[in-house]
């Protein structure tokens, strides 16, 4: 078992994996404009960390305000601005770019091409996203990340058009990223039966990216047009003949696939690093393939479940959407059982047990189960329209999915890649601090949100009454948020310190050692 086939695509591995210091000795021009896939990917990863720091800072600020009832230092407008930017920066700036960048890094290695096809498009995608982020920061929209019309046309901010333009740019950037992923998946030489699962993921999600961003682009354009009054009859502004329902349908036709855009590449990272750590193939190759295809197929038609209580169309259509939503559980559960089976079908090697990326992976699987269990309740029309909609239960669900699963899985990928791009190993104890702070912090935070939702705490409020339970739930969310922030600081220190002073790695940084006590010399670097 210790010797594994590095070329076996089902193991998620190929040659071209070699620890090397890629970070130093670069000119500014190379850092910014190099078309080497590793440079593009690392640029994307580090930019995503900046975005995480931004979104996290926003969150820490309004979390501090929300920890106690009454207004301490934040007014409604600043709160809404922070909340909007927190959502947009985290989803469009941190989560999606991070998993896409990790895919850029891993795909060429796994497929054996050692180059990213259409790297120019990836470069363009990156810079368009940067422009969008700058516009967001300057324009400071305060209409929440869903940009519901007519609210997003009527806020007190004269610069919200920048938010609308940023939405269009995000759509363009994601289209290009999707095209790059799709093109590189097509470059797989494995055929249908031997294409690595990461390439299946990149192919299906690349396609979904390219199709689903059109509604998003249209939303951005429609909002801009309505705001600037380019046409007599508006698209979305009801006071000029537009339709708010039309907005909902268009936006969520993108909005639900948007949830999968970080989700599916994160799943692909599991399929890549899990066999690597376990030293054996995944339990099932085909269930993974089928699940990727089903997820991509199910993503777009089920968008309306995001506004279940407000669509006033026939009950039959509601039930149709609910059934489709529940059907999407099937591919998700296929994935999860595939991972669990892979973990349990043989003993887990000692080397994997102590590896930080492996730990992050296992706990992100726990969080996807947590988020999935809440999703089952959300999918039901009755509890959703009566209790769940717009309560804190919803943030509990999507923080478990977005951060607990996708975000943590992206960090597992970064820890996994760390020796490959620095040539050094991260510091184990700082990694452990990061790991435990995040698991405990995220659990407290997400569960606190669930409890607040159970107590009917509404979303998007900057102040609240001192109602029994509310303040406690909010305080626990804030404490969890601080722990997550502290964990990220540990990660940053680890990143900077270990890139310079970490133990040098030569050869395979992740050897599979089943019994470390029997063979201490085979222990991986630390």
């Amino acid at each position: 078992m210790a010797t594994m086939e590095m070329d076996d695509p089902k193991m998620g591995n190929k040659v071209h994996w070699e620890p090397k210091n890629l970070l130093s000795g670069l000119t500014l021009n190379q850092i910014l404009f190099s078309n080497d896939y590793r440079h593009i990917a690392l640029k994307g990863i580090f930019t995503a960390f900046i975005m995480l720091a931004l979104g996290g800072t926003f969150a820490i600020i309004f979390r501090t305000e929300l920890a106690m009832p009454d207004v301490q230092f934040l007014g409604a407008r600043v709160y809404m601005t922070l909340m909007t930017l927190h959502g947009m920066v985290m989803v469009f700036g941190f989560l999606i770019p991070l998993v896409v960048s990790i895919s850029y890094y891993m795909l060429p290695k796994i497929l054996g091409n050692d180059r990213l096809l259409w790297a120019g498009a990836a470069q363009a995608s990156y810079w368009i996203l940067i422009v969008a982020a700058v516009l967001l920061v300057i324009g400071r929209p305060d209409f929440t990340w869903t940009a519901y019309a007519p609210m997003s046309l009527r806020t007190g901010n004269p610069n919200i058009w920048m938010g609308h333009v940023a939405i269009i740019l995000v759509a363009v950037s994601e289209f290009l990223a999707g095209a790059v992923l799709f093109r590189n998946a097509l470059a797989s030489k494995g055929g249908l039966k031997n294409t690595p699962l990461m390439a299946w993921a990149a192919g299906t999600i690349g396609l979904l990216f390219m199709i689903s961003v059109f509604p998003l682009g249209f939303v951005g354009f429609g909002l801009l047009s309505d705001w600037a009054q380019w046409t007599q009859v508006a698209y979305f502004d009801p006071s000029r003949g537009g339709s708010v329902q039309f907005f909902l349908y268009v936006f969520w036709t993108y909005g639900h696939p948007a949830v999968y855009l970080p989700f599916v590449p994160a799943i692909a990272i599991i399929y890549t690093i899990m066999p690597r750590f376990l030293g054996r193939p995944m339990w099932s190759y085909w269930s993974g393939v089928v699940a990727f295809v089903l997820l991509a197929l199910g993503a777009m038609p089920i968008g309306p479940h995001h506004f279940q209580p407000v669509y006033t169309v026939s009950g039959d259509y509601q039930r149709f959407v609910q059934i489709l939503t529940m059907l999407v559980f099937i591919p998700s559960v296929l994935h999860v059982f595939n991972w669990i089976s892979s973990l349990f079908m043989a003993p887990i090697p000692d080397s994997a047990r102590r590896a930080i990326p492996f730990k992050f992976m296992v706990f992100s699987i726990a969080f996807i189960v947590y988020g999935g269990a809440t999703a089952f309740l959300n999918a039901q029309i009755a509890p959703d329209s009566d209790f769940i909609h717009n309560s804190y239960w919803i943030p509990a669900h999507f923080h478990a999915m977005f951060f607990g699963f996708s975000g943590q899985m992206a960090f597992a990928g970064v820890y996994f890649l760390f020796p490959y791009f620095t040539g050094r190993m991260y510091n184990q104890s700082m990694g452990n601090w990061h790991f435990w702070l995040w698991q405990i912090g995220l659990f407290i935070k997400i569960t606190g949100m669930g409890v607040a939702g159970y107590l009917y705490f509404p979303r998007w409020v900057y102040d609240y009454l001192d109602i029994p339970g509310w303040a406690n739930a909010q305080m626990s969310i804030t404490i969890g948020g601080y722990m997550v922030g502290l964990g990220f600081l540990f990660f940053l220190v680890n990143l900077f310190w270990s890139a310079k002073y970490g133990k040098e790695v030569t050869g395979d940084p992740w050897p599979v050692v089943h019994d470390l006590k029997a063979a201490p010399s085979a222990a991986p670097a630390e």
Binding site: I50, G75, Q232, L495
Partner: protein, 347 residues
């Protein structure tokens, strides 16, 4: 590379944090700039004003198409309530007395033109008649008249109005009342005094001018009462879901929120509930709560309040919490006089 991103990140995070907190500017709530719309207004594509209530075309129905049935249902409900109040009754100059009170109703008058002048004894007077109206009743000169125990039950029920008209002739209209008396003034009945000598004691200060409550209930902050009812609101229901009352009864309600989340309390008439229900089926969330006979919004857990209700008419009323979905969870009850209990399908 790390150094570059470290510097860019640190600078970016600090700058952005400044921009989105202190840099956001003062709180403001502004409508879209009016000037943006001018061109379209000139072309006639826009209403004259952003505020649709000020816009003539909005009222004509050109901008907002309010479904005609909405209006009909609401009007019908309000009309049904209007029958119970004293619409149009002029009570000005009431302090001069209420002599020659013309309370003519439109319907069959049982006691029309009854002459009660001359100190006649009205105790034990039986005014039982279907749809009693005291049209044209001349009550001038009743200074020494004892009206206690007058049976004025209008619906044929055994309900005795406890009209507090003590022997000294002072008719205490603030707590007592002439409830149940159909004083519908379809023609805008005027109670202006023409004969200043009559009914001196009936002081009608502005505070008790509304002696007839809306919708058959006279609801006051406090006052004399016959019976006390303690209601506890909780998730999901009221401690008493069916309250039986007699006509003319004065009940002091003490409502307490014994639950863990805020609740509301309001009384509504059945016609109004029908209108609200019709709106709910259209997913219109204006449930007419501000048309309620009584409304106490947002009672925090542990909070309580009191009020006194006098039942002035036979009928049934609903009380409920109109916070979203609380009613659907069962927070609605009924108060009704005998024989008027409606099946709400709650069993």
């Amino acid at each position: 590379m790390l150094k570059f991103f470290g510097i860019v990140g640190l600078a970016g995070v600090s700058l952005t944090t400044y921009l989105v907190t202190y840099g956001v500017g003062p709180e403001q709530q502004l409508p879209p700039e009016v000037s943006l719309l001018e061109g379209f207004r000139e072309e006639g594509a826009m209403p004259e004003s952003r505020n649709l209530e000020e816009d003539e075309r909005a009222e004509e129905g050109g901008v907002f198409e309010v479904p005609p049935k909405d209006e009909e249902v609401l009007e019908a409900a309000l009309e049904a309530m209007g029958d119970m109040d004293m619409g149009g009754m002029d009570m000005s100059a009431a302090d001069t007395g209420m002599g020659n009170m013309d309370m003519s109703g439109a319907n069959d008058t049982a006691m029309a033109d009854t002459d009660m002048s001359g100190g006649g004894d009205m105790s034990g007077m039986d005014m039982t008649a279907a749809d009693t109206a005291m049209g044209g009743m001349d009550m001038s000169g009743t200074d020494d008249t004892a009206m206690a125990g007058m049976d004025m039950s209008g619906t044929g029920e055994e309900a005795v109005l406890d009209m507090d008209m003590d022997g000294d002739g002072v008719m205490d209209m603030s707590s007592a009342a002439m409830g149940g008396m159909d004083m519908s003034g379809t023609d805008g009945t005027a109670m202006a005094a023409t004969d200043g000598a009559a009914m001196d004691g009936m002081a009608m200060s502005p505070s008790n001018a509304a002696m007839m409550g809306e919708g058959g209930l006279l609801i006051t902050e406090d006052g004399a009462f016959d019976r006390e009812i303690e209601l506890t609101m909780q998730e999901w229901g009221y401690s008493d879901m069916q309250i039986d009352v007699r006509m003319g009864e004065r009940i002091k309600f003490t409502v307490k929120n014994g639950g863990e989340i805020p609740h509301e309390f309001m009384f509504m008439t059945m016609p109004l509930m029908a209108a609200a229900n019709y709106r709910a089926t259209r997913a219109d969330w204006n449930l007419l709560e501000h048309e309620a006979l009584f409304e106490r919004a947002l009672v925090l857990p542990g909070g309580d309040f009191e009020f006194v209700v006098q039942v002035q008419q036979a009928g049934s009323w609903m009380f409920m919490c109109m916070l979203p979905y609380h009613m659907q969870m069962g927070m609605m009850g009924q108060m009704s006089t005998e024989g008027m209990t409606m099946d709400m399908g709650m069993q």
